[in-house]
């Protein structure tokens, strides 16, 4: 059960810890869009083109993992009651390593320069190692909801496998090592990253976030308890199939079945909300869940990999992460302002509500742009290069507006924070 007493908001880290990741992430989404504009049909000529490799890593590492790292540094203490040790230093180093590593790695993919790819990947691996060390130390003391904590543990396990395989594949790609069945192992790397690290974390966090933020009923306990371990089982079967001796369909079937159960139950709980009113963050959740189902069906129907990838990555994972940013960032800004007001006993300064810290109108406009990008990119198998370029341009606009919306919230925060820190004379005149 969601335990409000365990929601230890007073243990939350300083606002700068998660925000630096959140505000930076949209730049990578914009870079991915620019890559599509520049490359057009060449990017998706095959999944092995330099552009396709850079695009996937810009989106999944630069945007998605960046948001997930920032969110987890915030959520470990709040949801699991387990503060991250030395969180300020960890977040600064993590931010530096990731944001140096991902651009270098993607430059390495695009240019074919072996040394940049190796250096960038080594920096990303160092960032992941730092995060895993800090997260492991934090989760070892976790005492929150057990299904959420278990899911967090399993998603970190999946991150270890994803990063380990990724580094190994980079050594193969640069000719340092010889890897038999490179394509097969790339699929294993992608599966553990998408369905394990991102997918299981999505599930685990949603168990708490949906009842908390949207007043949705709780996801039934058996689902919460068994789904994430089942997904890890599916991923283990994917590895077993790659090594040999097992049909590949077993792992894929278990993963697909698990996600379909998750989407069905989650969609049902969202329909049972106590109060139903337009909410762009909820629309991101709904579209994301439907895109997840559509991706699974598209995969089984043998539709082009571009369609499956766009649905899964842009529609589901990036979409839901975007929706959560719109929920979390104004909430954090409001919460820290409220704390500052009480600590400074500055009751004469009114802290603006979350609805004023983020413009619902501009968030909705950004949603429309992102949905348009999704629709146009899904039409790429028919529209070809022009559709990819148009979809890329829309993605750039959507990412830019997302960044602008988040920066505006941060600006509002700074303005009120300054008023709260000002002397009594300034307060009287405000």
């Amino acid at each position: 059960m969601l335990n409000a007493a365990g929601l230890a908001l007073e243990q939350a880290p300083p606002i700068g810890v998660p925000l630096r990741f959140f505000v930076t992430a949209p730049a990578y989404l914009a870079a991915a869009g620019l890559l599509l504009v520049a490359g057009g049909a060449d990017v998706f000529a095959s999944r092995w083109t330099p552009g396709a490799l850079a695009l996937v890593h810009l989106t999944l590492l630069g945007f998605l993992s960046q948001v997930m790292f920032g969110a987890l540094l915030q959520l470990f203490p709040v949801l699991a009651g387990a503060p991250v040790p030395r969180v300020l230093g960890v977040s600064r180093w993590l931010y530096g390593l990731l944001n140096l590593g991902v651009p270098l790695q993607c430059f390495g993919f695009l240019s074919g320069e072996r040394s940049w790819l190796l250096l960038g990947s080594a920096l990303v691996a160092a960032a992941v190692l730092l995060f895993l060390t800090a997260a492991g130390a934090s989760l070892a003391r976790a005492k929150g909801d057990r299904s959420t904590v278990l899911g967090m543990h399993l998603s970190l396990l999946a991150l270890v496998v994803t990063a380990g395989l990724g580094l190994w594949l980079v050594l193969g790609l640069t000719g340092t090592l010889s890897i038999p069945d490179f394509a097969g192992w790339t699929n294993v790397h992608l599966s553990w990253g998408l369905f394990g690290w991102a997918g299981i974390l999505l599930m685990a966090v949603s168990y708490q976030v949906l009842p908390l933020f949207y007043l949705a009923p709780e996801i039934p306990l058996p689902v919460r308890r068994f789904l994430a371990p089942g997904q890890i089982g599916g991923l283990a079967l994917v590895v077993a199939a790659q090594i040999g001796g097992l049909a590949a369909d077993w792992g894929g079937g278990l993963l697909a079945g698990g996600f379909l159960v998750y989407v069905g139950v989650t969609y049902w709980t969202l329909g049972k909300r106590k109060r139903s009113r337009p909410d762009v963050t909820l629309d991101y959740w709904r579209v994301g869940l439907l895109a997840l189902v559509a991706a699974i069906l598209s995969g089984y129907l043998g539709l082009p990999a571009t369609v499956v990838g766009v649905l899964l990555i842009l529609g589901a994972l990036v979409g839901i992460a975007t929706g959560m940013l719109y929920k979390i960032v104004p909430f954090l800004a409001w919460f820290h302002l409220q704390q500052a007001q009480i600590q400074g006993q500055r009751m004469a300064v009114r802290v603006p509500h979350t609805g004023l810290l983020l413009s619902a109108r501009w968030a909705r406009a950004q949603w429309a742009l992102q949905m348009a990008a999704l629709a146009v990119l899904l039409g790429a198998p028919l529209g070809g290069g022009p559709a990819l370029r148009a979809g890329g341009a829309l993605l750039v606009l959507a990412a830019a507006l997302l960044g602008w919306n988040l920066v505006r919230t941060l600006g509002q925060y700074r303005l009120v924070r300054a008023a709260l820190s000002a002397g009594p004379t300034a307060e009287a005149s405000s």
Binding site: L7, L9, E10, L212, T354
Partner: protein
């Protein structure tokens, strides 16, 4: 005088926002009577730091009822018998 506030169907952080707003506007000596779907644990620390006292009990239907008053004001009469002396 009592000021009643029903936040039982609001999504977070609206209940906290509304309660803190209502407290900012609360005339001296008055108290707030809040209907909530569950105990607002994050609020308690804030109330303590802001110099308020509070009392929470099970609500008439589902959820809880919460009374909030300034620490130096008298206990609201409706709960005077229930609130432990300190």
């Amino acid at each position: 005088m009592e000021h009643c506030l029903d936040v039982s169907e609001l999504e977070p952080p609206e209940p906290l926002e509304r309660i803190l707003d209502a407290l900012a506007d609360l005339p001296q000596g008055d108290w707030l009577h809040v209907l909530h779907r569950r105990e607002p644990f994050p609020l308690y620390r804030m109330l303590h730091d802001m110099g308020y006292r509070w009392y929470t009990r099970t609500g008439p239907e589902a959820g809880i009822e919460m009374f909030v008053w300034e620490a130096d004001a008298p206990v609201p009469p409706e709960i005077a018998q229930e609130v432990p002396l300190c």
